[in-house]
Symmetry: C2
Subunit: 210 residues, 2 copies
């Protein structure tokens, strides 16, 4: 069947799936025809979940993560270490960090500085981060720069570190603020011989006493 002969509703699902990252027209076709082999409710459930995605979703006014409450459950959790703030790029990174056991708070930037994509600090939650650091009541003692170990992630971390240092000149309560960066090194379970030079260099540089 050329596109003229493929039923419109099937072509519609293929077109829509093809818009998703990592799903080409071939995978999209396979998915659409797979759905036709399942009971009708199967596709309807997926469709309904997508229609409901934005339902009850808000942006937390403190950490700027997606949430159902404002402030979100993480920000309003008194059991977490209030004095440790981790700067993350995206909500998906928060998910990964939660799984890894981070028990402080978050600040979601909403991306990284990327001049080539026209994204500067003003497009991100950078000013809001500085505002949080300026608060003198229950001040932050450690700021973890948790941006990706990519070119843009590193540049963003460096930019933040420099700006916060400058901020510290005028704000005495920031004098003792510890700024850290997530460790770079060999991924757990990986094979040393396959590590790229830069990663291995960072692993050597960051080596620890046994």
């Amino acid at each position: 069947m050329n596109s003229r002969k493929l039923p419109k509703s099937i072509q519609g699902v293929i077109d829509q799936f093809s818009k998703l990252p990592g799903i080409g027209p071939k995978s999209a076709s396979r998915l659409a025809f797979y759905l036709l082999t399942r009971p009708e409710q199967f596709a309807v459930d997926i469709g309904q979940a997508l229609l409901d995605l934005r339902k009850n979703l808000v942006t937390c006014g403190q950490c700027f993560n997606v949430a159902e409450e404002n402030p979100c459950l993480i920000c309003s959790d008194g059991q977490r270490r209030q004095e440790s703030l981790l700067v993350a790029e995206e909500p998906l990174d928060v998910l990964a960090l939660e799984r890894a056991g981070w028990d402080g708070r978050y600040h979601v930037l909403g991306g990284v500085i990327s001049p080539i994509n026209g994204i500067g600090p003003e497009q991100l939650r950078v000013r809001e981060l500085f505002d949080r650091l300026k608060v003198t009541q229950s001040p932050i003692h450690e700021l973890v720069l948790g941006t990706d170990p990519s070119l843009e992630g590193e540049a963003t971390a460096l930019y933040l570190q420099q700006q916060i240092e400058r901020l510290g000149h005028d704000l005495p309560h920031l004098k003792d603020l510890k700024i850290t960066r997530l460790a770079r090194g060999l991924p757990v379970g990986s094979d040393l011989e396959y590590a790229d030079e830069l990663t291995l260099a960072r692993a050597l540089e960051g080596r620890k006493e046994y």
Copy 2:
């Protein structure tokens, strides 16, 4: 965020996407959070397409392909060679064969014989295929067995070929029916040295004069 803290609607999309073949929980998370970076309409469009998937879809009463009309556009197309019938496993195979330029008609089996999955000829459109072959008015001259070149596809093709030969004993108009099978050989653009032995053996067996 553990699952308790992940907003229900996001978890819902992740759960639903994870049900699709080839999409694990990690890809599903990535897709869900990707949708959150796009305008709301983006996810709604995908959801709506899924809700509409079964809308106006029927099974063609002649070829048993999914279609919007019965008979489908292919079956009712007088320009196609009426005397050539290709037996396909699935609607997706029809799509591929149309792209490859097949200009005869189809018969969609709805799967292959697979005792391990409890699928015998009676679960497929096998009887309906025999019924089509029995018609003496505008009879079929060539039947292409277009099942997959897999173990089950080959077994199904062999079964059909044997049953149709038996059918031919009682039906004189089937005496001249040509039963063919799609050629097995080297995929176009592939590298001979990477071909598996069986494929290469079939390619040798089916070699043609230049």
